[in-house]
Amino acid sequence: MKRAIILVVNGTEHSVEVQPSDLLVDVLRDRLRLTGTKKGCGTGECGACTVLLDGKPVNSCLLLAIRCEGRQITTIEGLGTPDSLHVLQKAFIDNGAVQCGFCAPGMLLSAKALLDENPAPSEMDIRQALAGNICRCTGYVKIVKAVSSAARTMSGAEGGGR
């Protein structure tokens, strides 16, 4: 029952054979070896597996890979690299918003989706946008601060983004 599909991940086309029941998170991690996407609960509660699907944050543990054919998938590996960090990634580091780091990929992608839509979010906007991402270490204060600081940098910097 396997079917060959094309997944567009971080702008690159990947041809993969999937079962209709294969979840996007497992295909990303186990087949494409994009292990930056984390699996914390498998039931859509923790948000560690968040990726962007056509720019919107989704729980990749609740999404069938076969339904993502032809759509734009962005994972943490597509946000920035160690040599060329996204403003959000730099803000997370500078503000101490990362402790164990397991929730960071999902947090960052939810934050990216927010800033793409709303470049000047209030604290409440940020908290609402990140409500689906659980962090067990930080207590969220520094994460909210990091997103807010990234928003200011992006709106102030020429050309925004990176």
Binding site: G36, E45, V98
Partner: protein, 420 residues
């Protein structure tokens, strides 16, 4: 490197890897030819195991091995008490006990094989309330008593304390089970190399402790056991001890292939340690001017099915049970009790949050009974330099009073406080 690190905010050295998704956590590792392991857990909180039949599971496509208690060289472990089986043998003592573990060529094949393992149980009466479990006629989880340990701390003479008290206040407080909920589940991957070394990538917080535990369980020299801890997605005490590492080692030896295991979120709740629920009874005697002169504390800690870190957490809780107050006459009794509940283990604060919650609620209640301001009442009784604790330890460099005054000022809790 120059200057002091104090007062300077420095970024984590591994933060760049974390925010770019490059940091490797337990489940991010893989080895060529790797197999996937899944555990079959008990269906009963308390039952005798009559028979385990793995023959049907072994015939399934993709299944490479199934291990049961017979495969474990030394089937008991624990930090202070060797009471916990790696794989249940005579009995299951809680719903999280593992009876068998399957290694297969995919997660799906391993999961499907679990249904094909037949276990005959003889259900036994179970006990879930630690107070019930302390009674002589309660069902026994191990041996002939459910009371595993009794920690006693005595200081002064409480009878004299009650005599000189003008008020005696009693309270009973209960705290609940808490699961650590680190976002990353437990994961372990083991490989037995050609030179006979076990290499284990594990999400454990204490690599050397589990290397020594594995050495005893596997009856294998510790210098041939190498534990690698990758980036860990939170622990909070929940990854303090051995869990799934013996399974992947035993299966790697049996199949001659690397074996990985990752717990589901459901297993994190039902099959790993939790914060001990406590029942704490306080009785304190105070004089008219608000000095605490006597305190009696009884702590009942629900250990669950095994001891794990229960005795050490109870010991720390007992040492702290009188609170940060100088009290001349103290009597503390801590009981660790087996039940058929989830296993209590290490968790942030190690027993102290439970008693801290209880004695501060108790302090508020005493203040209300004697009609004194709760802050003033606490301040009057705080430990100072040269105070002795119920354990006999004499304190030095105590800054509690200064800390409380500063906190009151910063919080703006009250305009006027008359410091003694």
């Amino acid at each position: 490197m120059n200057g002091s690190a104090i007062g300077v905010s420095r970024p984590r050295h591994d933060a760049v890897l974390q925010v770019t998704g490059r940091a490797l956590y337990g489940d991010d590792y893989e080895r060529p030819g790797m197999l996937y392991a899944k555990a079959l857990r008990s269906r009963h909180p308390h039952a005798r195991i009559l028979k385990v039949d793995t023959s049907r599971a072994l015939k399934l496509a993709g299944v490479k091995a199934v291990i049961t208690a017979e495969d474990v060289p030394k089937n008991r472990y624990g930090f202070t008490h060797l009471d916990q089986p790696v794989l249940a043998d005579d009995k299951v003592r809680y719903m999280g006990d593992v009876v068998a573990v399957v290694a297969a060529t995919s997660w799906d094949a391993a999961t499907e094989a679990l249904d094909q393992i037949e276990v005959d149980y003889l259900p036994l009466p179970a006990v879930f309330d630690p107070v019930e479990a302390m009674k002589p006629d309660a069902p026994k989880v191990h041996g002939d008593s459910n009371i595993v340990s009794h920690i006693k701390i005595r200081s002064g003479d409480v009878t004299e304390g009650w005599r000189i008290s003008s008020e005696i206040v009693e309270d009973v407080m209960r705290t609940q089970v808490v699961e650590h909920c680190h976002i990353e589940p437990h994961a372990a991957l083991a490989e037995l190399t050609d030179d006979g070394t076990y290499v284990i990538w594990s999400t454990v917080q204490r690599p050397f402790l589990i290397a020594s535990d594995l050495s005893r369980i596997l009856q294998y020299p510790m210098n041939k056991i190498r534990v690698i801890t990758p980036a860990i997605g939170g622990g909070f005490g929940g990854k303090n001890e051995i869990t799934i590492e013996p399974y992947v080692c035993l299966l790697a030896a049996k199949t001659k292939r690397p074996v990985k295991m990752v717990l589901s979120r459901e297993e994190e709740f039902c099959g790993t340690t939790v914060r001990h629920p406590y029942i704490v009874k306080y009785r304190s005697g105070v004089t008219k001017d608000g000095k605490i002169v006597a305190r009696q504390v009884e702590i009942i800690s629900d250990s669950g099915a095994y001891v794990s870190w229960g005795e050490s957490t109870l010991s720390k809780a007992s040492i702290h049970a009188a609170g940060p107050y100088f009290i001349p006459h103290v009597r503390i009794d801590g009981y660790l009790v087996y039940t058929n509940n989830s296993i209590g283990g290490a968790m942030r604060g190690f027993g102290v949050p439970q008693v801290g919650f209880a004695y501060e609620c108790h302090m508020d209640n005493i203040a209300a009974v004697i009609g004194m301001d709760p802050l003033e009442f606490r301040y009057k009784n705080l430990l100072t330099d040269n105070s002795s604790l119920p354990t006999g330890q004499v304190l030095e460099f105590v800054t509690l009073r200064e800390t409380v005054r500063k906190a009151v000022e910063l919080v703006g809790w009250k305009k006027e406080v008359e410091w003694e």
